[in-house]
């Protein structure tokens, strides 16, 4: 086994077509549990809220079984950990049940975004809009406690993904990298570094990508997301509609070899753009991810992290 991060995809309904074309290039699959069930909501009878989406689960299981067999990580969107309201315990239990059904996951990630509020929230149907988080002591304590509950339920390493925002919160006590570094330092979770989110923030007037990365503890980074977006009404959107932009690749080749605990590099695309992007471009994306992964090879710490990834399934 080589000590380098695995090359992976975020699973969607077109993944099986891509695997049929270029399956040998895909070593890891992440999947969102919210796409593997139908959530009938809090108004559903107790114990009858989550109904499994059997076809989607079967497709995912086929992708994981291969050949080749692939490592698996869960990537949730629905728990809204920064929300100032109790954790959705029913959903946590559903996440745990789903990961067990899939044979366990090497790690589980959530977003460092706000989606739910006491009287509403923002829809999380597609990538692109989570509300920004106030990085202070109150949010830290809130998120740390929820991470503990989630970790107890799913029984694996947790990661939090940096967000993309159109409207940053001013006058914060901590920057986002400082917040993530502290979560890592205190043992609550590692970091899922979404490099395209950094580009979205930079292009929309936020922190420059290089400044963000310079502040981040790269030893916390265990997974990296690549993706592409597009311009809409003067803003750059995290639409997952294109291959990874060149400026993100440049950053990736600079930064990832310094991420000693990196376990996977995962490409995200939205299935409605599958035809537009095309199999040839997706294959080129995966091939270039392998070059990137090879550039990260040969580190003792990663050897250990990678062995954990393989052991989890």
């Amino acid at each position: 086994m080589c000590a380098r991060p695995r090359v992976g995809l975020l699973h969607n309904p077109t993944t099986s077509a891509l695997l049929a074309h270029a399956g040998a290039l895909v070593e890891h699959v992440s999947a969102m549990p919210e796409r593997l069930w139908f959530d009938f909501g809090a108004e559903a009878p107790r114990g009858r809220r989550f109904h499994r989406a059997h076809a989607a689960i079967d497709e995912l299981k086929a992708a994981l079984d291969g050949p080749p067999a692939r490592s698996f990580a869960g990537h949730g969107l629905g728990l809204s950990l920064p929300s100032a309201m109790p954790l959705d315990d029913d959903m946590v239990d559903a996440v745990a049940a789903m990961t067990r059904r899939l044979g366990g996951c090497a790690w589980y990630s959530e977003h460092l975004n706000l989606f739910l509020t006491p009287k509403g929230g923002v829809p999380n149907a597609q990538a692109g809009l989570g509300l920004p988080v106030v990085y202070d002591e109150e949010s830290f304590a809130l998120i740390a406690a929820k991470l503990q509950r989630l970790r107890d339920a799913v029984g694996c390493r947790l990661l939090l993904e940096n967000g993309s925002f159109f409207t940053p919160v001013p006058d914060l006590d901590l920057s986002e990298p400082e917040f993530l570094n502290r979560l890592h330092r205190q043992g609550h979770c590692g970091t899922l570094l979404d490099l395209h989110n950094l580009l979205v923030n930079e292009r929309n007037g936020g922190t420059p990508m290089a400044d963000y990365v310079a502040e981040l503890d790269l030893d916390a980074v265990e997974e990296v997301h690549l993706a592409g977006g597009d311009d809409e009404e003067g803003f750059y959107m995290d639409s997952h509609s294109t291959p990874t932009p060149e400026v993100v690749w440049e950053l990736a080749f600079d930064v990832l070899p310094r991420c000693r605990r990196l376990r996977a590099i995962t490409f995200e695309y939205q299935e409605s753009y599958f035809e537009d992007i095309g199999l040839a471009a997706l294959t080129r994306e995966l091939e270039r991810m392998h070059v990137l992964a090879e550039a990260c090879a040969g580190d003792e710490a990663r050897e250990s992290a990678h062995a954990e990834t393989a052991d989890a399934r």
């Binding site: 919210e34 139908f38 959530d39 009938f40 909501g41 009858r48 989550f50 109904h51 499994r52 989406a53 059997h54 629905g78 929300s83 100032a84 309201m85 706000l114 509020t117 006491p118 009287k119 509403g120 929230g121 923002v122 829809p123 999380n124 149907a125 597609q126 692109g128 809009l129 509300l131 920004p132 106030v134 109150e138 949010s139 809130l142 925002f165 159109f166 409207t167 940053p168 919160v169 001013p170 006058d171 929309n204 007037g205 809409e232 009404e233 003067g234 803003f235 959107m237």
Partner: protein, 147 residues
């Protein structure tokens, strides 16, 4: 308090009108939410940030997503009436449902009732709505996979 700050942030993202009202009336936040001075200052800055336009746009796109997926023909038939129809629906149902078929059925039922009550829409809407409602209702029943 944090819960009210988050609620206010969500509300202004969901409502460009509220966002505009907040810019015009510096006392509005204090009338609607329990906030510290620092939270109030943060929300005022966010409401005035150029990115608020994009945040509101993406909110609408995401809220519309289940209807665009399941009731595409109905939305297309609504044509120029789509915007005011959707705005009226969101006033009655400010929170979307996570289950796309439930959200789509809820909108379909609301629209059928609104048309029966006299809502003016293009003549082709009723036919598209009936056809697509039948499909979505079937899909919703099929999604009850746990007995």
């Amino acid at each position: 308090m944090l819960a009210d700050f988050q609620q206010a942030l969500s509300d202004i993202t969901a409502s460009p009108a509220l966002c505009r009202a907040l810019r015009a009336d510096s006392e509005l936040l204090g009338k609607r939410y329990r906030l510290t001075e620092r939270e109030t200052a943060r929300l005022r800055a966010i409401a005035g940030h150029p990115g608020m336009t994009a945040a509101c746009t993406v909110y609408r796109m995401n809220r519309l997503a289940p209807l665009a997926m399941n009731l595409r023909g109905t939305l297309r038939a609504l044509g120029p009436a789509l915007r005011r129809t959707i705005d009226a629906y969101w006033v009655d149902h400010p929170r979307g449902h996570a289950h796309f078929y439930i959200e789509s059925c809820r909108f379909a039922d609301w629209l059928a009732q609104a048309i029966a009550a006299g809502l003016s829409v293009p003549a082709t809407v009723a036919g598209e709505l009936a056809r697509e409602t039948a499909f979505v209702r079937g899909a919703l029943v099929a999604s009850r996979t746990e007995g």
